[in-house]
C-alpha cells in the first residue's frame, strides 16, 4: 500500500517527480551577458571581394572589410570602414556602395582602424539602360514588404490591391500595377503622382504606413521605371541562385557585427549585388539579429542562421557567436570513428569541451532503449558490468547483439508503421497486420533502404498479398501520396506549396502538381473481404493545377545525374529518380532522421523540414554519414552501428562548464522522454507485472501493437502517433499535468507495482534482506545499482516503515516517477 505521506518523503529523496521537474531539467541556463572584452588593435585589413567588376550602370556593389588582429582573430569592420575613390570611372554612394560612372579601370581606397587597402575596379559598361520590372522593380516590392502575406500578398490583397505572395508571379504583379483599373497605379505623365509612389511615401494615406521617401534609391528606381513607360520584358533573365558572404559568419563577442553581402546569379551568367534588395531574417534572435540591410549583431553565445531570400531563392548563412571563452582549452578526445572526428572539429571551432563517456549502466540503458525500445533488464545490467573486456569492444558487441535481437525488429517496425501511417481505418484490420508484417520482414531482413522505398512506390497487386500496395490505400489521391512521400523520403514539406509557391523554399506550386502527377497512374479496384487491387493505369488520371486549370505533366522538381528510364511507368521513373544515389535529399534525409533517433535532435532539425532556411548544424558530418550510407548500399543496420559505436553517442548526460549551453553539437547526451510505448513497456518490465493489452494476444508489448486504433488510454495520453500525418511531430514528447497525475496516481502504475506476480511481491515472498530488495528495485527501475548513499537512505526508510513490501512499493513508485526512469539519458 502506497501512502501519500511516505511517498512524499521519497519525492525529496529521489530528486522529485521527474515529470514535474522535467521542464527545469531540460531548461538551458542563459549565459550571462558577455563582456565586450579588451580594446582591439589591428595589424591589417582585408577586403572582399579582392577586385570589383561593375558591368552596368546600376550594378553597384559593396565590399566587406575584415580587420586582422595580432593574434589572428578576424573582426568585420565593414560598417566602420570608409570607402572612397578618386577614379573617374566610379563613385561611392552614401550607403558605401561602389557605383559605375564610366567604362574603364579605377581603384577605390578602403580605410578602417588606421589601416588602408586598395581595390581595383573594372567598369565594363556604364551606358544608361532602362529599369527592368523583373530584375529591379519586383525585388523592391518584396524588400519593402508590399507583397508580404500580411499586406497586399494576402489571399484577398488589401484595399482592392493584390500582389502575388512574395512576388512569385511577376506577370501577375505587372498586370496589377499596369492594367488594373486602366492603369490607376502609375502615372506616366507625372511619375511622382503615381499611386504606387504616393502610397509607400505616404503622400496619400496608406494603411501600410511609410516605407521609403522620395530621396531613396527604391523610389528613384520605381520612378524611373514609370517614366520609361512601365515596360515589361517577359524574357528577362531569372535568378538561378543566391550566395551569401561570408558563408559562415563567426563573431566573437556580444555586440560584434558582421555585414553580409548577397550576390544573385542570373540565368544569363551575370551576377548582381542584391544586398539592398534581399530580405533578411534571423533564425534565432536571442543569439543574433540580422538587420534589413544584412548586418548581423551578436546577442549572446550560440548558433543561429541568417536567412536570406531574394526572388524565390533562399540561402542561409550559419552564424556562430563564440562569446567570451577565456580559460577554454581543448583536451584530446577519444575518437572511435569519423563521426567523432567531425563532431570534435565543430566542437573545437565553437570552443566546446565535450562530456566524458557515459558509464556502463548509463550506456546500456540508453542503447537498449534506442535500438530495442526497452530498457535493459537487471540480468543484462549485471552481466554487462561483469564483462571485463575493454569498454570499446564490449560496447560494440552489445550494439551488435541488440541489432540482432527480436526487439530491434519490433521497435523499428513501430517507427516505420508510424511513418507510413499504417492503420485499420484506411486499410482494414487485415490490411494493418499484412502491412505491418511486410514492414517487419523488411526490418528483420535489413532490406536496403532504397529497395524498401522502391517497393512501396512501385507496389501493385492485392493489398493483402503484396502488402506494400497498402501505401496507395492509406493515401488515395496523387497529391496526398506525393505529400507523404516527400516528407518521409525526402524530408521536405511539399504540402506548403499546394496553394502558392513555398514561402521558405524554392519549391513552386507548379512543381507540387507536376510531382503529384507521378502518382496519377495508380488504379484501385475493390476485391472481396475489404481487399483492394492496386494497378498501373494505362492512361493516368489528370492532376489539375487549379492555378492554370490545366492538367500537370509529370516532372521532377529538381533533376540530378542519376539515370531514368523514360520508357518505364510513371511510378517506376519516380522510384528511379528518388532512390538514385545522385538524389541530394533521399539518403541525406534518412541518415539525418536516424541520427535524430539516437540524439534527440537531427543534424538538420526538424528532420522532415529540410530546406535552405534550415541549415545543418554540422554539414560535414551529415555529408560523411550520407556518403557512408550510400556506399554501404543503404544499409540501415550499419548506419545504426556506426552511430552507436561513436564516442559521441556514448557521451554522458552530465555537462560541464564548457558544454552546458550546447544543445545542437552533440557534446553531451540530451535527455529524451520515453515514448508512450517505451514508457508502458518499461513500467511493465520494471515492476514485473504481466502484460495484458486489449485486442492483442497476452504477452504483447505496447510496441507490438499494430496501430493506434487499439485503444489504450495511457498510450494516447503519452502521445503515441495517431498516424494521420507523416510528420515526426505527430508523436509528442511534451509533458502535461494529466501525464503527471497519471504517473503519480494512475492505475497503470499503481496496479503494476502492487501486482502479486510482480518483482516486489516475488522477491519479498522468496525471503531476502532489505539491502537486496533495494538493489533489485533499483536494477529493475533504473537499470543500475543504488549508490552507497541511496542505499543507506533506503535502508533507513525500510527500517522505519517496517513492512518491506509496502516500503519496496513506495521506493519503486518514487523511482518510476524520477527522471532516471522517465527519460532516456
Amino acid at each position: 500500500m502506497i501512502t501519500m505521506t511516505n511517498a512524499l518523503r521519497w519525492i525529496s529523496f529521489v530528486c522529485g517527480l521527474g515529470l514535474l521537474l522535467a521542464s527545469s531539467a531540460l531548461a538551458q541556463e542563459q549565459p550571462a551577458a558577455e563582456s565586450t572584452g579588451p580594446a582591439r588593435t589591428f595589424t591589417a585589413i582585408e577586403v572582399y571581394p579582392p577586385e570589383l567588376t561593375l558591368s552596368s550602370i546600376r550594378d553597384s556593389r559593396r565590399v566587406l572589410v575584415t580587420g586582422v588582429m595580432s593574434d589572428g582573430q578576424r573582426i568585420d569592420l565593414s560598417s566602420r570602414a570608409t570607402v572612397s575613390t578618386q577614379s573617374p570611372v566610379c563613385q561611392v554612394d552614401a550607403a558605401g556602395f561602389v557605383a559605375p560612372v564610366a567604362a574603364g579601370e579605377g581603384v577605390i581606397t578602403v580605410e578602417a582602424e588606421g589601416q588602408k587597402a586598395e581595390v581595383k575596379v573594372h567598369v565594363t559598361s556604364a551606358d544608361p539602360i532602362n529599369v527592368d520590372f523583373i530584375r529591379e522593380v519586383n525585388p523592391i516590392l518584396s524588400k519593402v514588404g508590399c507583397n508580404q502575406g500580411t499586406c497586399h500578398g494576402s489571399q484577398a490583397g488589401k484595399n482592392g490591391f493584390k500582389l502575388s505572395l512574395r512576388g512569385y508571379d511577376s506577370v501577375y504583379d505587372y498586370r496589377v500595377l499596369v492594367d488594373d483599373i486602366s492603369g490607376r497605379r502609375f502615372n506616366r505623365s507625372e511619375p511622382s503622382q503615381s499611386l504606387m509612389l504616393l502610397k509607400p511615401t505616404q503622400g496619400v494615406p496608406h494603411e501600410g504606413g511609410f516605407l521609403f521617401d522620395e530621396e531613396s534609391r527604391y523610389y528613384k528606381i520605381l520612378e524611373q521605371w514609370i517614366a520609361e513607360g512601365c515596360q515589361y520584358k517577359p524574357d528577362a533573365a531569372r535568378v538561378t541562385g543566391i550566395e551569401v558572404y561570408p558563408p559562415t559568419p563567426l563573431l566573437q563577442l556580444r555586440h560584434d557585427q558582421q555585414q553580409l553581402i548577397v550576390i544573385a546569379k542570373y540565368a544569363d551568367g551575370t551576377t548582381r549585388d542584391v544586398t539592398r534588395e534581399a530580405v533578411f531574417d534571423a533564425s534565432n534572435f536571442e543569439v543574433a539579429t540580422v538587420s534589413k540591410q544584412g548586418l548581423i549583431t551578436a546577442v549572446q553565445r550560440g548558433e543561429a542562421a541568417a536567412l536570406v531570400r531574394f526572388e524565390g531563392n533562399y540561402a542561409a548563412a550559419p552564424i556562430s557567436i563564440l562569446g567570451n571563452r577565456d580559460g577554454y582549452q581543448w583536451a584530446p578526445q577519444p575518437e572511435h570513428n569519423y563521426i567523432d572526428t567531425l563532431v570534435n572539429g565543430k566542437l573545437q571551432r565553437m570552443k566546446i569541451l565535450p562530456s566524458a563517456a557515459a558509464d556502463d549502466a548509463e550506456f546500456l540503458r540508453r542503447i537498449s532503449l534506442d535500438i530495442s525500445g526497452v530498457p535493459s533488464t537487471s540480468e543484462e545490467v549485471l552481466a554487462f558490468a561483469a564483462d571485463l573486456t575493454d569498454p570499446v569492444t564490449k560496447r560494440a558487441a552489445m550494439v551488435d547483439k541488440l541489432l540482432s535481437s527480436p526487439m530491434y525488429v519490433e521497435h523499428w517496425t513501430l517507427k516505420w508503421s508510424d511513418l507510413l501511417l499504417n492503420r485499420r481505418k484506411t486499410v482494414t484490420e487485415r490490411g494493418v497486420w499484412a502491412f505491418r508484417n511486410w514492414i517487419r520482414q523488411s526490418v528483420a531482413g535489413n532490406k536496403s533502404f532504397d529497395q524498401f522505398a522502391k517497393e512501396l512506390i512501385t507496389a501493385n497487386g492485392s493489398a493483402y498479398e503484396n502488402p506494400a500496395a497498402n501505401y496507395f490505400r492509406i493515401a488515395r489521391e496523387p497529391k496526398l501520396v506525393m505529400e507523404n512521400m516527400t516528407q518521409v523520403f525526402l524530408g521536405t514539406r511539399f504540402n506548403c506549396n499546394q496553394c502558392h509557391d513555398h514561402p521558405f523554399e524554392r519549391w513552386t506550386q507548379r512543381q507540387y502538381y507536376e510531382l503529384s502527377a507521378y502518382f496519377a497512374d495508380v488504379g484501385r479496384r475493390p476485391l472481396p473481404e475489404g481487399d483492394e487491387f492496386i494497378f498501373t493505369m494505362a492512361s493516368p488520371a489528370a492532376v489539375v493545377n487549379p492555378d492554370t486549370n490545366q492538367p500537370a505533366d509529370p516532372r521532377f522538381p529538381f533533376t540530378h545525374a542519376g539515370a531514368i528510364d523514360v520508357a518505364s511507368t510513371r511510378r517506376e521513373q519516380l522510384a528511379q529518380w528518388l532512390i538514385a544515389k545522385e538524389n541530394p535529399y533521399f539518403a541525406r534525409s534518412i541518415v539525418n532522421r536516424y541520427w535524430s533517433y539516437f540524439f534527440g535532435r537531427g543534424i538538420i532539425d526538424p528532420v522532415d523540414d529540410i530546406r535552405a532556411g534550415n541549415p545543418a548544424s554540422n554539414p560535414e558530418l551529415l555529408d560523411a554519414l550520407t556518403k557512408d550510407f550510400v556506399d554501404s548500399g543503404y544499409d540501415l543496420k550499419k548506419l545504426i552501428r556506426t552511430i552507436c559505436n561513436s564516442a559521441t553517442y556514448q557521451r554522458s548526460l552530465e555537462a560541464g562548464q564548457w558544454n552546458d549551453d550546447d544543445t545542437i553539437n552533440f557534446s553531451h547526451a540530451l535527455p529524451r522522454r520515453l515514448s508512450a510505448e517505451q514508457l508502458y513497456d518499461a513500467i511493465i518490465q520494471a515492476t514485473g507485472a504481466p502484460r495484458a493489452l486489449p485486442g492483442v494476444p497476452a504477452g504483447f508489448r505496447a510496441s507490438e501493437l499494430p496501430d493506434s486504433d487499439v485503444e489504450v488510454a495511457f498510450l494516447d495520453m503519452f502521445g503515441r502517433a495517431p498516424r494521420e500525418s507523416p510528420c515526426e511531430c505527430e508523436r509528442t514528447s511534451d509533458v502535461s499535468l494529466g501525464q503527471t497525475l497519471n504517473m503519480v496516481n494512475g492505475p497503470t502504475i499503481g496496479d503494476a507495482i502492487a501486482h502479486p506476480q510482480g518483482v516486489i511481491a516475488k522477491t519479498v515472498a522468496a525471503g531476502t534482506t532489505n539491502e537486496n530488495l533495494i538493489e533489485t528495485i533499483y536494477l529493475s527501475a533504473l537499470c543500475r545499482k543504488p549508490s552507497p548513499e541511496e542505499s543507506t537512505r533506503a535502508v533507513e526508510y525500510f527500517a522505519t516503515a517496517g513492512d518491506a513490501k509496502a516500503a519496496g512499493e513506495d521506493l519503486m513508485w518514487a523511482l518510476i516517477n524520477s527522471p532516471g526512469f522517465l527519460f532516456n539519458r
Binding site: G160, S182, S189, E190, P191, P205
Partner: protein
C-alpha cells in the same frame, strides 16, 4: 516626362529632412538644430508630412479610426469621438500630443513611436498657434490657364463620341480633351480638380459632358461641363477615392455612376444634387447603365456581381448575375444597355462579353444564370470597356493582357461574326462607337487614338490623346514648389 508645373506633393520632398521616420531606407536625418524649435513651424511643409506618414493610414476620411481624420487642420480642430485633437497654443493639453508622447505612447498603434524631433515639431507648431499655411493655389496648380504639358501621351481610360459624331472626348491627366475630329480646331481642354479621369460621357443632346474620376486615396469627383463653352457646371466632390462608370438617362436629366466606396449614385444634372444611393455592392462599382424605361439602374462591380436597383429611392431589386461564373479577380468592369431592348452587355476580367436580360423571367435560384441571353467569343486578357452602336446591332470591346491588347467589333445577334482591330500592341482601356456606326475609336495604355473602320477594322487615323511636347533634357530637376 515631367509636367513642368508645381506639383501637389513635390513640396513634401523639400521637407524631406524631417521625415526620416523609421523607414526602410529613409534619407539621412539632419542633426537637430536647437534653434529650429524657435523657428516658425510650417504646417504644410513640416507638420502635414509627419501626420500624413505616421497617422493618416488609420485616420483619414476613408477610415476615420476613432472618428478622427488628420489630413487637414480643420479636421484636427474638429477632432474625433473624444473631442478636438488640438488645444491651440497648449501642446500639453492637446490630445494629439498626449497620445504620441511618453514612455510608451498610445499612438501610433502597434508601430514605432514618433521620434523626439517629430514630437517637438508638432508641439512647437501647436504652441505657435497651430496655423494652417496650406497654400491656396496648391490644389489648383494645374488650371485651364496652365493645362498639363505632356512629354508622352497620357494613358487613355475613357472616350466618347459626341451625338453628332464631330467631337471625341478623351480622358487625360487632370483634364478631359475634347478633340474636333475634322481637325478644324485644337482640342478643347477641360481642366478640373481630379488628377485621374475614369469615365467621360456626352449627354444625349451633346450639350453636357459628364466626367467621373478623382484623386486616388484623397477624393472622388463628378464634373459636369457645358461642352460649347468649356465651362464647369458642377463639381460634385464625394468620398475619398475615385468615381467610375458614368451613364445618362434618356432625357439627360440624370447621371449615374459608381464609386470606390462601393456605392452607386445618381445625380441631377441641372443641380448636381445626389438623388439616389445604392449600397448593395461589396466592392468597387465600375459601371452603370439605365434600363430602357429609365426607372431602373444596372450596376457592375469588382465584387463580380451585376445588380438591379430602382432609380427612385435606390431600392435594391435583384442580382442579375450573383457571381459571374468564371469571373477572375477584377470582377466586372463595364455594362451598357441595348438601345432598344431591356438587355445589357457586360464585360469583365473573364474576357467573355455577355448579354443579359435585365428583368428576371424565372424564379431565382442560388448560383443560377437564367438571365444570360448569349456569351460572345472571348478576347485574350481582361475586358476593359464596351460600347454598343446606336441601333444596337453591333458593339465594340477592348481588352488588356497587360503586355498587349485587343479590340473587337461584334454583331449583337450573330456571335460568330467578328471584326478585329489590327496592329494593336498595347492594352486597350477605352473604346467608342461613332453614332453613325461607321467608325470606332480605340485607345489605352499607349495614349494613341486609333479611328478605325467599323466594317473592316482598318485604321483610318491615328493621333495622340493630348498634344505632346518633346521631353525635357534628363538633367532637369524635378519641379519643387513655387
Amino acid at each position: 516626362m515631367k509636367i513642368r508645373l508645381p506639383v501637389f506633393f513635390a513640396l513634401s520632398i523639400a521637407a524631406g529632412f524631417v521625415l526620416a521616420a523609421g523607414g526602410v531606407e529613409s534619407a539621412q536625418a539632419a542633426p537637430q538644430d536647437a534653434a529650429a524649435a524657435q523657428k516658425k513651424i510650417s504646417y504644410y511643409r513640416t507638420v502635414r508630412p509627419i501626420l500624413q506618414r505616421r497617422c493618416s493610414g488609420c485616420h483619414f476620411d476613408g477610415k476615420r479610426e476613432g472618428g478622427l481624420s488628420v489630413v487637414a487642420v480643420s479636421e484636427l480642430l474638429k477632432g474625433g469621438e473624444a473631442g478636438a485633437s488640438l488645444a491651440v497654443g497648449k501642446p500639453d493639453e492637446s490630445p494629439l500630443i498626449q497620445r504620441i508622447s511618453g514612455e510608451k505612447p498610445d499612438m501610433p498603434l502597434n508601430s514605432e513611436p514618433l521620434t523626439a524631433e517629430q514630437v517637438l515639431t508638432l508641439r512647437t507648431w501647436i504652441e505657435q498657434g497651430a496655423e494652417d499655411d496650406t497654400p491656396a493655389d496648391v490644389v489648383q496648380s494645374i488650371t485651364a490657364e496652365r493645362p498639363p504639358v505632356y512629354s508622352s501621351p497620357p494613358v487613355v481610360t475613357s472616350m466618347d463620341y459626341s451625338p453628332d459624331g464631330k467631337l471625341l472626348a478623351v480622358s487625360g491627366y487632370h483634364e478631359v480633351l475634347v478633340h474636333t475630329l475634322d481637325g478644324s480646331a485644337p482640342p478643347k481642354r477641360l481642366v478640373g480638380r481630379s488628377h485621374r479621369i475614369e469615365s467621360v460621357v456626352f449627354s444625349p443632346n451633346g450639350q453636357v459632358l459628364a466626367v467621373a474620376g478623382g484623386t486616388p486615396s484623397l477624393f472622388g469627383e463628378v464634373q459636369l461641363w457645358n461642352v460649347a463653352e468649356g465651362k464647369l457646371l458642377h463639381s460634385i466632390i464625394l468620398s475619398y477615392d475615385t468615381m467610375f462608370g458614368l451613364s445618362f438617362n434618356n432625357d439627360g436629366t440624370l447621371v449615374a455612376f459608381g464609386g470606390a466606396d462601393n456605392r452607386v449614385r445618381v445625380a441631377k444634372v441641372e443641380t448636381g444634387e445626389i438623388v439616389m444611393r445604392m449600397d448593395a455592392h461589396s466592392d468597387w462599382v465600375h459601371g452603370t447603365t439605365f434600363s430602357l424605361k429609365n426607372d431602373h439602374l444596372i450596376s457592375v462591380s469588382r465584387d463580380r456581381s451585376m445588380k438591379l436597383a430602382i432609380v427612385a429611392g435606390g431600392q435594391f431589386v435583384d442580382n442579375i448575375t450573383s457571381i459571374t461564373p468564371g469571373a477572375l479577380k477584377g470582377g466586372l468592369v463595364d455594362v451598357q444597355r441595348h438601345p432598344t431592348q431591356e438587355m445589357v452587355i457586360s464585360v469583365g476580367a473573364d474576357g467573355e462579353p455577355r448579354m443579359y436580360k435585365i428583368f428576371r423571367e424565372q424564379a431565382r435560384q442560388i448560383g443560377d444564370d437564367f438571365n444570360l441571353v448569349r456569351a460572345f467569343q472571348k478576347l485574350p486578357g481582361r475586358l476593359c470597356d464596351v460600347d454598343i452602336s446606336t441601333s444596337g446591332s453591333k458593339f465594340i470591346v477592348g481588352s488588356s493582357t497587360a503586355v498587349g491588347g485587343a479590340a473587337r467589333v461584334y454583331l449583337t445577334e450573330d456571335p460568330a461574326k467578328i471584326v478585329d482591330i489590327p496592329g494593336l500592341t498595347a492594352p486597350v482601356f477605352a473604346v467608342s462607337f461613332r453614332p453613325d456606326e461607321l467608325q470606332v475609336a480605340v485607345s489605352g495604355f499607349d495614349g494613341m487614338i486609333r479611328l478605325c473602320n467599323a466594317e473592316t477594322g482598318a485604321v483610318e487615323n491615328t493621333f495622340p490623346a493630348a498634344p505632346v511636347t518633346p521631353a525635357t533634357p534628363p538633367a532637369a530637376t524635378p519641379a519643387a514648389g513655387g
